[in-house]
Subunit: 345 residues, 4 copies
């Protein structure tokens, strides 16, 4: 069934997934299918720039996020798609040329959305009920039974919930929140209000979202505009006892200000992303009772990684049939240059 | 606002909520409404048996769970309803006489269902992603970033989930689980399969439920039949790496056997109810990394308590209008004698 | 496999389903199971009162709605359940005695709920889009293409919808309406507002429900209180162009007033129940373009009838095991005497 | 309110909506907003080619579907978006140049999806229950009461349902069908199976979809590949008594074969699109009892038209801010040349 790799008919797919790993994103079965349908040039073990440059003229698609300035793209005359498997778009690609040439620029963000949404809900429910705090107390022999440990416990059901940002992650989270029947306010300056209404949520300003929400999920990506979007002024808008979940990008929040509110007992927070990772050994956050501490774990789970490989395989297969990709996310030419993310190491 | 007790028109409602408390289940507004619509005889501060016996002949309804043997019921000729606000039915009431006389026997279980369902989901998500375990590691300076701490992390989405028991709690939990699109198997020997199918879940035997589920929620109430329903044999059926959530009644599970599976790393478990509460200071459970420890906190939160008062007020109001109660749960004459619960202290 | 009917161990179930029919409610498989588990005394073909009276002393349950005055119940000392398979409770049974004796009085209303809910939605969508009206025009060679026939066409999505009554049927319909994201107001005087809120609908007065709804579903059962609940005054509250669906009981609506509003083009209506059935040959309703005419067809479909038999079998099986019934609806002692329904012939 | 067209700061938007109409797609408020934010050049009343050509060099966006061959696009140096408000992409635009130049090619299909989905459900429920057929019988004095008219009535709940095509419409319909808990099989050769599974439906071949479905919705668009996709062989696969709903494009189905199956009583069908419109006066379809006849009315309702205008306004506003459009559908360069639709007159 499998065609020999010398067959000229099969499009050439270049694998250079670093810092992602081939064996993490492709199951053996998926990799077999990939090799079956394409001529796979695997450069994972060959980081030399020359190796990449040599194969560019034949490449139908590149899986990975290598540097692709204008001159390299010029050499890649057959290139139809660039499949980013890291999760962020960096400024190491001449995206303008890609869009001009009709090269699909695809991101793997959707592969992480469910994992991050479940994690965000887990953090919110932990903050709602004091799960990890009381587990620690129990282990220290200081557990409080029944209602004694529940003074600040609240239901998610029927509560006021705010989302800051409504991309893939916000939509996945919205689905998980639906049976809790929240009043859900969303701030997203990139979306017209009717798009939000179609998803059953209330469009709101940032201030209204913060002022009225008991639970706030910060899901905004990092751009120049979103740097410290949630600063001291915004944190002060949150009602006493509000629970804040931060799972997207650390720069969106003024970190010292947030820690201060938590230390004073005014807010509870679940934090998965940090201004500096690893976090300093003496960071005061490590001792705050009102935090749930998490080490950038929201998205990077085995099933999410494998979803990337499955999406890559599906979309490459569609592209080879002359059909548009449907699983990865097409980068918007208007946005791809705005992101200010660092690679996850 | 309150009408004097001499008004003959208003039905007499006796309050003896112990071990529950009036000010915990009734908001001031709810209590005002209650006093407005009924002649309230408040015996919370008067635990004398004589006080209760004195008011019985006039009582339209009793809010609480005092001893009501046949002779007391015989003296309560106008009694129309008994509203249990503790959560369990104890054998201190002559239920047979209640049913014969058409006295409504109502339980407040539905008031706790949402709180316990949210807590159960919180425990399951914690076990799925290691939330409290990694929070502890972070506080100890041993956090693992990104995928390093996610080796055993799994999605709830699309997973095989088993429910043991499908009463109020199971139904509430089923609603919360729906957007995760699980394959949901349910074992409940009191329900015909079509009832389960109508709720969109798969009827299954206990063994099939355990054998095929990555997440198992033990929601069964304690009866003679359910004692150690989940014993060593049953625990051994669970697949490696399964997550078990126990939030209903401790006697349903063989506790030492469960701890053994967790200690061996075969299972992860979230435990909210214990064979003996408080748990012994030297109980080995306190040190098990594979546990999330919780001190009987799933249901007793402020909003659940207030829901009890709201339900009591609503149903008393309906009963006084000659309408059937709709918010509390009518005890089934076939089941009320089967429960083997201890009061929560 | 089947035990002979002489076996003393099997409880005696009496079948007298008229005007319902055994072969309509029981599939052959269900009837086999019933005969397997019970000693079935089939009186369908034996309408003599003596036949019934003869078996009463042994009867564990009666499937049907025969006359059961006090003296007959007195003779039925082992009777545990009365399973109505017609759909309405008539005053031919001494219900008070049933409740005193703890005899379950069960109704089959839930078996019809899905069928009636789907039919109600079908009528509403027909009225929204003119399906049957334009089908008639097409057959007459007068079809209007594309937007020409759509001047009064409206979406159900996002519209204001009112339900008058929120029992089994209202709840089933609410589930079907959910993905249309309506603003759903409900008037039901037998239910406290919080019950409605728990179902995600807005409690409202009758007047508010009518005044603000583009679609109104009249689902109220017939009682002394609901006679002409929707009269001329109430119909006049409906906004111009409102669509009214009547599927419960004709006496709830002032029929001439409704026809007048439809004739004037102010309202559109789908009517399944009529003050007199069969409807007179010269009834003006037959010619009204603004009506969808239906001959009491909403509930009585083959799958609904078979659901009755399945429910009967399931609940009898539970009762024989000492468990409470869960599929049929337990009659409320407060309500069973209030219904003013006629048998469906 | 409107700024004079001399203002250089506001981007120029050309309106040439024919055969669509400006006053049908824009509410007065929407048109005011459009004129407020843009310099609107309204060519609706000026069909001369010269008028269009004159404004092209300044055009930021064109709302409509005028001919735009390469030479015209060459003259439109500032053009950023082409907003089709008719619903179909015709071969009168040099799409390749648009994609090369990064000109957004946007379609208004999503504006119709909800209207068509509701209509499709209306037709399916009519076929399930004989709504229009029995309405006709009632008007002819031949109504059949209760179960007499329900011999072939079926529930949608729990049934096997097939969708042929899963684009905007299929997704909207899938949401409406969810509370019916169908077993939903989908055939869509443009989508990988996992995309379908993510929507909770079963990927299936066309043959399996047809063979196992009681209800089939034909939602496929017209391409060379889909011509007579449902021919005699495929229709013969459908089970007896199946209900077929055709709302997308007539060429997808072999029309004489379909009518033959309906005439023989083997299938029931709701047809909204016809091989020739208007349908011939003597077309035998007009007399078939097993049809619900509809004159291309599924999508073109006032609310759908206004949704187009709202989407146009929202996306133009985003584009003017340098953000990507989110409400209309971006044409896929791989597909835009494949459609074989005729304009709706």
């Amino acid at each position: 069934m499998s065609t020999p790799s010398s067959s000229p008919a099969k499009p050439v797919v270049v694998l250079r997934p670093a810092p992602q790993r081939t064996d993490r994103i492709f199951t053996p079965a998926a990799l077999d299918s990939l090799r079956d349908r394409f001529t796979v040039v695997d450069l994972e073990k060959d980081p030399a720039e020359e190796a990449l440059e040599e194969v560019l003229p034949d490449a139908f698609a590149i899986v990975g996020q290598p540097d692709l300035p204008a001159e390299r793209l010029a050499a890649a005359g057959k290139l139809r798609a660039l499949l980013n498997v890291e999760g962020n778009f960096f400024p190491n690609v001449d995206y303008a040329t890609c869009f001009e040439r009709g090269i699909h620029v695809l991101g793997c963000g959707p592969a992480y959305a469910q994992a991050v949404a479940e994690y965000s809900l887990a953090l919110a429910l932990d903050l709602a009920r004091g799960i990890s705090r009381e587990d620690r107390a129990f282990r220290a022999g200081q557990e409080r039974y029944v209602s004694d440990g529940n003074a600040d416990a609240v239901l998610l059901h029927g509560s006021d919930v705010g989302l800051v940002g409504f991309g893939n992650l916000g939509r996945s989270l919205n689905r998980l929140l639906a049976p809790f029947r929240p009043t859900l306010r969303v701030y997203d300056p990139w979306l017209p209000p009717d798009v939000l209404r179609e998803h059953g949520v209330l469009p709101a300003s940032l201030d209204e979202t913060l002022t009225r929400s008991r639970f706030v999920f910060v899901l905004a990506t990092a751009t120049d505009d979103s740097l410290h979007l949630i600063g001291e002024r915004e944190l002060a808008l949150l009602p006493d006892g509000a629970r804040l979940v931060l799972v997207s990008r650390a720069p969106v929040v003024d970190y010292p200000a947030l820690l201060d509110h938590v230390a004073r007992g005014r807010l509870l927070a679940g934090i998965d992303v940090w201004p500096n990772e690893p976090v300093a050994a003496d960071d005061p956050a490590r001792d705050l009772d009102g935090l749930v501490l998490s080490a950038h774990r929201a998205g990077g789970i085995p099933q999410a990684f494998q979803a990337i490989g499955d999406m890559v395989l599906d979309d490459l297969t569609l592209l080879a049939q002359g059909l548009p990709p449907v699983r990865m996310q097409s980068a918007a030419r208007e946005l791809v240059g705005r992101y200010r993310n660092r690679p996850v190491s």
